[in-house]
Symmetry: C2
């Protein structure tokens, strides 16, 4: 399996805290290997993602890098490819085969409100999950599910807690 | 096509404003017909969803109802079925065929942090998009995509603005 890293750019401490948390948790739950946050530094954000990984299992890496462009350039220098999720991009349903037939490690750029032009330029694919304004969490979830047919079946290691499927109520292994 | 309505319960004005906005926008973009918010009343939330529909097209209904249980009961009385999205439910990949083979109108309950026990009881299906803690926006997006093979191809009517797919940059019809 190729490595999939999420790069959340332009994070704003106050305004984006919960959305960026959802981006990180969805990335982990759906089988991405890592998330790198850029923008404003937010220790509580990293802590809450790492807490979930410590309790619910991993591996899942979470870190901060103030320079998102250097992350992208380093990624490409190492032979990785880059998807930028944007409502202005090409339709995911038209490009997913091409992306999946390429086996390089994949960096997925997930922007906040304003995305710098460089993100469009540096990406190998600018990809839209519908051309409608909605949610980067929704777009990332659908993308991860289309990239990895096992995204709903990830087995987490060293979990302290686990949920078993249940018709009604909760079945928790603690 | 059956009708799909999202019922966002337990909305909290301050804490959930952006996540609930993302729930509504993802619901619209991915082809649901309607969202009903319950919990604390939040006029700005309804306004921001309705603004997007006015500009980007519809139809998409958005309303507030303080009594979520009466919404569910009314839905069932009219012959509709109810999915409750919860990490404690049955795996979506194991139940989606059964849900899709039932043609009744579908109400999808999307909770916030604490979900009352009644939601588990009233639902025809308690459904998990992974048994991991992540994001109701991500869970809803994947569910809508699995319920409707055309969720990425919705044509919106009376749109004042439209985005055309683009390799790099933005192609906007205004």
């Amino acid at each position: 399996m190729r490595k999939i890293t999420i790069l959340r750019i332009n994070h704003r401490h106050f305004r984006d805290h919960r959305i960026s948390t959802h981006v990180g948790l969805a990335a982990r739950a759906l089988g991405a290997n890592e998330i790198i946050y850029s923008g404003e530094k937010d220790e509580a954000l990293l802590e809450s993602i790492n807490k979930i990984t410590a309790k619910w299992g991993g591996p899942f890496e979470c870190s901060y890098n103030p320079n998102w462009k250097s992350v992208v350039k380093e990624w490409k220098k190492n032979g990785g490819k880059v998807v930028h999720l944007t409502m202005y991009g090409m339709r995911i349903q038209d490009r997913i085969k091409e992306i999946n037939s390429d086996k390089s490690d994949l960096l997925i750029i997930v922007g906040s409100e304003k995305v710098p032009w460089d993100a469009y330029e540096l990406a190998d694919w600018n990809i839209a999950v519908t051309g409608q304004p909605h949610s980067e969490v929704a777009a990332l979830a659908i993308t991860l599910e289309k990239l990895n047919s096992k995204s709903l079946e990830v087995e987490f290691k060293e979990a302290k807690i686990k949920v078993n499927p249940c018709e009604k109520g909760k079945d928790i292994e603690d």
